[in-house]
């Protein structure tokens, strides 16, 4: 049994669903999951399908060609097709905080993530020992404003060498260059330790404490050039009270960061996210 995932978006029109499902039926596919969404303001149609094929003569290239000719072209679709047996390659960028790193590597080692982690890149040597503990190649790539272009080049070389499909910033504390952002458009996931759009930028737990909020949060989002302004994938929150210190906020926040980032990674790796107009459609 081959399983594939199809993602589609295009201008909303009549008979899209009928046409796509007819096509799947015509090639003996069985739809095991279908979810669609219409953005009424923008008049855009989104669909995610999972299908399975029992035919031995199943051929991905033929399907892609047919799909382009008979569906994508007439409906002017943007589309992607993935086989579920391929596991996307994820690069981890870290700095000094280790809680998200431990969480991701623990999940990875426990077999929870349908992906591969070919390497970890860091602008500090601190977490090399953690990477070694999990036997993941660790690459130290210094980065600062002054050596931005050199840093970017080394990052890009590594990403190319390891054939990386997407990047996760697990509390990586440096900016990502516009060049890298455009190379991995909607493929770089960041975790921000606040409930965006509240408290963007540095030290959000301190700002939250000062404001006296009763709930703190964390937000995972795709990285764009605007700081903490990219499409939001997932958010979660935790209650706090006057009895919690900033240190308590940080401790509680670590659990939020771990969970929210892990969920975003899973959603992305399983092709459940689509981006449009700086927002995400998340078929979960």
């Amino acid at each position: 049994m081959q399983k594939i995932t199809i993602l589609i978006h295009c201008q909303d029109q009549k008979a899209i669903i009928a046409s796509v499902t007819n096509y799947i039926a015509s090639i003996e596919g069985n739809i095991i999951y279908l979810d669609q969404h219409v953005d009424a303001d923008e008049n855009v149609f989104f669909m995610r399908l999972e299908c399975e094929f029992s035919a031995q003569n199943w051929d991905m290239d033929t399907i892609k060609k047919d799909f382009q000719t008979h569906l994508a072209a007439p409906f002017k679709m943007s589309w992607e097709i993935y086989t579920q047996e391929y596991k996307p390659k994820m690069a981890l960028f870290v700095s000094k905080y280790d809680h998200c790193l431990y969480d991701i590597l623990g999940r990875y080692s426990a077999g929870e993530l349908q992906l591969e982690i070919p390497l970890i890149i860091s602008n500090h040597e601190d977490l090399r020992a953690v990477a070694e503990r999990f036997s993941i190649p660790f690459h130290y790539v210094p980065f600062s404003k002054e050596i931005k272009m050199e840093g970017e080049r080394k990052q890009m070389d590594l990403l190319k060498e390891y054939k990386v499909d997407f990047i996760v910033l697990a509390r990586y504390m440096q900016i990502i260059t516009p060049g890298l952002i455009s190379l991995y458009k909607n493929k770089i996931i960041n975790i921000h330790h606040s409930f965006l759009p509240a408290f963007p930028g540095a030290k959000p737990y301190h700002s939250a404490f000062k404001r006296g909020v009763k709930i703190i949060g964390a937000t995972s989002h795709y990285v764009t050039e605007g700081l903490d302004e990219g499409p939001i994938i997932e958010q979660d929150i935790s209650r706090v009270s006057h009895s919690h210190s900033i240190e308590d906020f940080i401790i509680k926040g670590r659990d939020l960061e771990r969970m929210v980032l892990a969920r975003a990674i899973k959603l992305h790796a399983e092709r459940k996210t689509m981006v449009y107009n700086n927002k995400t459609v998340v078929f979960s």
Copy 2:
């Protein structure tokens, strides 16, 4: 613009979605919502569609006939079609607790519910004043084990007279007779003040307190003959601690009961629930 909602379930087969969406396209309908689910264990397919039709010559009876002939018959479907302009008629059954009643009538008066409340039935006179405050006819129907059949007959007469589509037990403290349950199969909604299946039956807050749980809950479900064993529509919870008394549990619980019942009413009235094998499919 006419809007209709279609609910379908049948054995899972190839090409169901394609056939249904083809049919909608053929009669110039526009699908504005489609959600489907396959129960893999039972091999049952469920679908909910919302469509809109601009055609002036749109005719419900023709659609129903065509649907039966061309889709329901060949696929052996169970199906229902509703126009969205019809508001279902909901009877409220109450006893002495007034918090759910106030909440429902407040929402109803604020225009939040797509339904009509033609009458309130109670086995006590206590809440007549509340009904009058909101100008809803209030009918006192005594009920006890001894006069069960007489009570049921009076209830059925009123439900028939007011053309009631579904019933909500807003903390109604008497049993519902098997006769009424079978007359309104999957159309009687109860609110139970625990996180079912924990603490079924009487005094769940007392049992929860005694057990020392850290979270309490409420559950709305369709009424079946087994006490608190019907298909669950919605549940929610609230945190408690050692510092909360049974009285605190009851106060916090009232908010849960209100919210969970209100959501179940909304889901049912908007035709977003389907029942199969003592479980619900909730397309929300």
Copy 3:
């Protein structure tokens, strides 16, 4: 049995708790609740006690005098003592939205709130019928920038006439004048329909929708001169997804507004909130 609630704050010093509890013991009081908090940054001590007295010769004035002499003066305390039998008087300010109003009046009628609602003030006539349904005096007080001072004077006259202790803005859509704010300092509760500090000001649901957040919120806070910048009492959130429209945000938000405002009212009426440095200490 007389029950009293004592609220204290002062600079943190040694032996405060011992001194206060010694005093309560000396007058034959039994402490049934004690919670304290030290703001380590500001070095401020906060305490809330509930005590009961069985003595027939219990006298509030004597206690207050003793408390001032023996405790408040030497420790330089700010303090308040309330008998639990007195129910504070709450004025409701409303405009056109009725969902919070219905919710509060429903809870009030169901006996859930330890307070009295002597009047409702509105800058529109729209909700008079709701007030009448619950038999609460309704006063129409026009208000706009142009007639600000006249509006304020009428509001103040009514609040004085009805001996109002605190004010709740149940989606009241006009500004509160600095004069009224200073007259009811930390005694005016507002409900804002976002997760503050995200989306202050007008149309927060629209802004939240545009930003593509995955969680929406509501915030109750004491009113200060800075718009939506007062001390936060309570917040709560609800999950949303790409499938929710702005209209869905508003519907879901209504439930948040109801719940968050109701909790803030309860906390305030039960003397469980203290304000310091634009933040609240909430002993719940």
Copy 4:
């Protein structure tokens, strides 16, 4: 600065708080945290204090003796005093599931837990590699009904050798013997993968799926002889829908198990839990 934590419970009486806080003041201690609770049904008083002492001549043995003589004896208190610099020793019991193990060891390595993990005990060899990855001694102790007493003896020998203070069952799949339970009374923490008291015993996710619940949960509790009937420390929940399979329940449940167990470990290690009458008082 020495910091100590004091836990007290005794029959509720007048002037307990005053007496204890007077005593702390008399030995130049500064109370930095005080929380108390009265179980009104059982008439039992509970208190947790954190104090700091700057005196160089501070002496724990003297404090303990004085405390016993001047407070514990007259009030008939049960009490414990801990210095915060001592980190309790926790043994991990595991079988084959690794998700909780990875989570705990990740947190431990990241420095989040105020405790030491001197050893891991397992009835299978499967997780030895995980233990080695984190450099924790791993002891294989076979266990089954047939060799129960031999297994218990080996467990007890190891626990004694490593001076273990408390035990965490991180999805350990064997029973704990009554002998071990009584040796570590209220010091063995289990994680059960349901919202207790719903679905005790084996395969709770399967039972939850069959029942069609809309929320699943996890529960950490102290182990007693009754299966899944011990005092509950912490619970949490996650929403599920008809679209989730049993496998989805298990995946979502793993996150709950991780979080709920990690919180219970933290609460216990920080001396924030007290047990009375098969319920916990959790001062968090």
